[in-house]
């Protein structure tokens, strides 16, 4: 099966800031992929490049074999932004239905289904501005899921979601994977990482390590993913320091 996402030597700068540097990665279809790295590592830029909201300065980004940006592909992509992007003057149901229609049209039954899935059935008719941060986050997730996308990009999806619901989310993500949906999750929390099929460690816009959790642990000789990340991060950091030394 074709890869869900391919990044080939992708670079993206904002002024002097090199947000993504020479980034190459292939994400196979039907898995949950974790992009892990500290704040400001370039995770959101990477996700926006995959969605096609940004155009790469150089290199190629493709989704399901189609080069991005591509408006038509967006009907098959679900995107949940880091800060919940919902209309505060619309109800939960209206928000979900709105984004469903924008993505190509969905049935009212499907709208109710995703609202139930994110545990907001009893708040379906509440206005966005009356919701708590976590509920807004869940509404945002429902908006990303409603049109049954083939590729789901979730930027820090479980911030503000209580542990019980988080378990439910991961169960649902597994079901989606089984249906062939590819999920890309960005996170700076390492315990999320353990639930992903494969992981990419990102630091300062670069991919510093990539593989399954077990691979990464073995390569780094570490016991936890956090330790592994620090090992890889240290390895990339050493070089510039050593270069400075002789002077």
């Amino acid at each position: 099966m074709a890869d869900a996402v391919t990044l080939d030597s992708v670079c993206k700068s904002f002024g002097a800031l090199q947000a993504v540097q020479n980034f190459s990665l292939r994400i196979p279809t039907g898995i949950t992929y974790g992009l892990l790295g500290p704040n400001g590592a370039g995770k959101t830029t990477l996700i926006r490049l995959i969605v096609g909201l940004l155009r790469a300065d150089s290199g190629r980004v493709s989704v399901m074999g189609r080069p991005m940006p591509d408006k038509d592909m967006l009907a098959h992509i679900g995107y949940m932004t880091q800060t919940p992007a919902i209309y505060s003057d619309l109800t939960v149901r209206e928000n979900v239905a709105f984004f469903g229609t924008m993505a190509g049209g969905v049935s009212p039954a499907r709208v109710n289904e995703v609202i139930a899935l994110v545990g907001l059935s009893d708040r379906a008719d509440s206005l966005g501005r009356t919701l708590s941060g976590g509920m807004r986050q869940r509404t945002s997730l429902a908006c990303a899921l409603v049109h049954q996308p083939r590729l789901l990009l979730l930027d820090e999806p479980t911030v503000g979601v209580d542990p019980q619901l988080r378990v439910q989310f991961w169960d649902y993500f597994r079901q989606l994977n089984a249906q062939g949906v590819t999920i890309i999750v960005s996170s700076h929390v390492m315990d999320e990482a353990e639930r992903c099929d494969r992981l990419g460690f990102i630091r300062q816009g670069q991919l510093i390590a990539e593989g399954t959790g077990a691979d990464l642990l073995a390569q780094a000789g570490a016991r936890t993913l956090e330790e592994a990340f620090l090992t890889f991060a240290g390895a990339t950091q050493e070089r510039p320091l050593q270069e400075k030394m002789p002077a």
Binding site: L53, K71, T83, P84, A85, M102
Partner: protein, 378 residues
Amino acid sequence: MNRKRVITLAGRVIRQTLRDRRTVVLFLIGPLIIVSLTALLLRSEGRPAPLGIVNQDEGATVLLFGQVRLADRIVAAMSEGDALVPVPLPADEAEAALRAGRVRGVVTFPPDFSASFAGERRVRLQLTLEGSNPLQATAVLSALMQTGMRALAGLASGSAGGELPLSVDVTYLYGGPEYDLLDYLAPPYLVLIVFFFVFLLTTVTFLRERSQGTVERLMATPVTRLEIVTGYMLGFLAFALADAALLLGFTVTVIGLHYAGNLFDMLVIESLLVMVAVNLGIFLSTFARNEFQVLQFIPLVILPMVLLSGLLFPVEDLPGLFQPLAYLLPLTHASDALRAIMIRGQGLAEVGVQIVALLLTGMIMLALAAVTVRREVA
């Protein structure tokens, strides 16, 4: 009250404001622009009004003065004065010139004009006024009376019974004596209110759409920029038309506004204006980081448009460069069109020029809006 806390608070407010450099600059410069523009408009002398002259006077012999054509004396007095510019017209072209707006009125001197003066020592003039602007109509009438009296002053010494030697019969092409200033101001007010509210609504709504991240989220769906902009236009059109209809209904029934036109034609013009306002709002929202900065567009963008639109100062009286500038602005054309419809009872065909101008402005704004839909705030 803790002095240190209060002073620290004041210091924070000052520092915070100074950091928004644009606000500081606008705060200082905005009022200067408005004051200068208003001063310029208020101080600019009204231009002399073009007055059509249909001179059929055959002349007569007046005691002590010999053969004279009184009409010529009056016309000469007009040329000397600075209130009126006489425009000689053949009788059959007078109405056309009036309709085309080339003259603000037409005065007709009948063939027996001089003769009746020689006989009765008094004359009657026929004046047809364009009438859309009651202020201009009054000005033309009083200037004509003054000029006429001056021209006749030397001749009329023997007039009977202290009666004025000159009287003017006034007829109106449009409007009429019952039309007052409100009737004249109502069309541009309708234009202004719709434009202003739609502009503010769009700018703030779109600003929110940007700041709450929903534009970004929308752009991650197959929806196109043109679809977004068009959707916004349709949405606000509903409000604008309801507003315009309510306002018109209220002024006509409760306030007793005179209204000669067709409601549908009026709503067409309002719709075109909404198209301009929505797109201008989306475009300008790119340059505002918050609602406060949206307010700054009012003195900078809206007020100059209003001052130049002919709401208070007729565009033909604007000084030099301001006239072409006024015709670049959508409010001017919309006001012109609505005045034509509401006061003169004209139809859409007669305001074709204004419709084309509004459409063109709308298209340019639409293109600008579509390009900047996604722009991050500068």
